[in-house]
Amino acid sequence: MINFQYVRATDVADAVCQIAADPTAKFIAGGTNLIDLMKEDVERPSRLIDISRLPLNTVEETTDGGLRIGALVPNSDLAYHPLIAQRYPMLASAILAGASAQLRNMASTGGNLLQRTRCYYFYDTATPCSKREPGSGCTAIAGLNRMHAILGTSEACIATHPSDMCVALAALEATVYVTGPAGVRAIAFADFHRLPGDTPQRDTNLQPKEIVTAVELPARGFSENYTYLKIRDRLSYAFALVSVAAALELEGERIKEARLALGGVAHRPWRDPSAEAALRGQDASQATFARAADLLLRDAKGFEHNAFKIGLARRAIVRALTQATAGTPQSQSNKKIG
């Protein structure tokens, strides 16, 4: 691994002060992604600012009936937190669909949001990658692109965001709280992650001098009719080819409210207002689900090795909405898809 300096932040203000003073520094919390990338020579910070001891590790109820999750709450603690399990089971399910028990014990909430793509070419410093070296081009477009995006791609990048947790947070319309030199600001989850465009080196709209301090969930948890369905090459411990977070509020057979977010298909968790609008007010039927899936995928574009994802995503959306309607969410231990 490269050499670097190591310092500990004493509080959030000190962390912001330290990152503002050194543009080549990086925060470290769980370290599960950053240390790996440093071993691969992809990330080369001159200094690591350890924020892991800051008091951002609580889950608290908000006055409007939601929950405020500290940025340093470990993924496993969040998934098993009683209030998450009861009120936001789709989030718990998505977290438990990702990584391994050891990694979930280490990885933080904020770090999960900021993890980088697992595109092979991003990791391989011998190949061009515009995310790693802006302007150098995308090797994946004409390379091994089985894992890559089918929506929102650009000529500069077809990488996917690897998180499962973020797909559920997108569907739940969470808010990300960050602190920078100018103070605190709130970022709607839909505005947090970016599409690659011609600046794929920027994964998120977090500014270089800002730190994520919390993620807030609104009161609406969809705890009755939800699922997180993840399709992957192995039954466990693999990134999604396609994943679907589906959440419904039903009045009898009719869909009152619908949320639909996909993972593994784009540079950010993918939501489409027109697909959700096509569900709202309709009967919860296979025809309705298929219409929503077609709308969500209308601009999908496959590459040499991943065109199968378009059909896979369509079927996964229909299946996930069926599971959500029936109130039979996908189990994350028994992988039979019901």
Binding site: N3, Q5, G31, D36, K39, S100, A101, Q102, N105
Partner: protein, 169 residues
């Protein structure tokens, strides 16, 4: 092997500048490491605790699993300096007074390994799994042990061994 929990290990000189205090298998340990030293390398190269294995060194295989403050983690993706003050349990610390830990005995009883390279990580991970108390069924054990790869394919016996130890805890 078990180490007596009352004797302090002498300070281990090492390249680098940052002092780190760890309680490893009950033994208060002081060392000085460079910031880029992982907990895995600190254990193996600085403290000669080579029971914890380096497999992939990227958090993908689980061979480096240890317990830090009672939680199972990948020691290859952890900087030693970040764990200053922590309690670390490695495979060397599971037996007590020369008696094997229930998981160690169960792995022998069920022939839950072939080459054995993944075994220290499997056993530490299983100890963490049992402490977490989330896995009951074989499906749940398999899922929550998926961070530990066994390339010999001893998985059915590993699950059986964990079930046996779980029944005793």
């Amino acid at each position: 092997m078990a180490r007596a929990s009352t004797t302090a290990r002498p300070t281990v000189p090492a390249p680098g500048r940052i002092p780190v205090a760890l309680t490893i298998n009950g033994v208060a340990t002081q060392l000085e490491v460079a910031p880029w030293t992982t907990l895995l390398d600190a254990l193996r190269d600085h403290l000669d605790l080579t029971g914890t294995k380096k497999g992939c060194d990227h958090g993908q295989c689980g061979a480096c699993t240890v317990l830090v403050d009672g939680r199972r983690i990948n020691s290859c993706l952890t900087l030693a300096v970040m764990k200053d003050g922590a309690k670390v349990t490695t495979i060397e610390g599971l037996a007590t007074n020369g008696a094997l830990h229930a998981l160690q005995q169960a792995f022998i009883d069920h022939d839950a390994f072939q080459c054995g390279y993944c075994t220290p990580g499997q056993i530490c991970s299983a100890a963490g799994l049992i402490a977490e108390g989330k896995a009951k069924s074989p499906d749940e054990i398999r899922e929550l042990m998926s961070g530990n790869i066994c390339r010999c394919g001893a998985y059915p016996n590993i699950v059986a061994a964990i079930q046996q130890a779980m029944g005793q805890s």
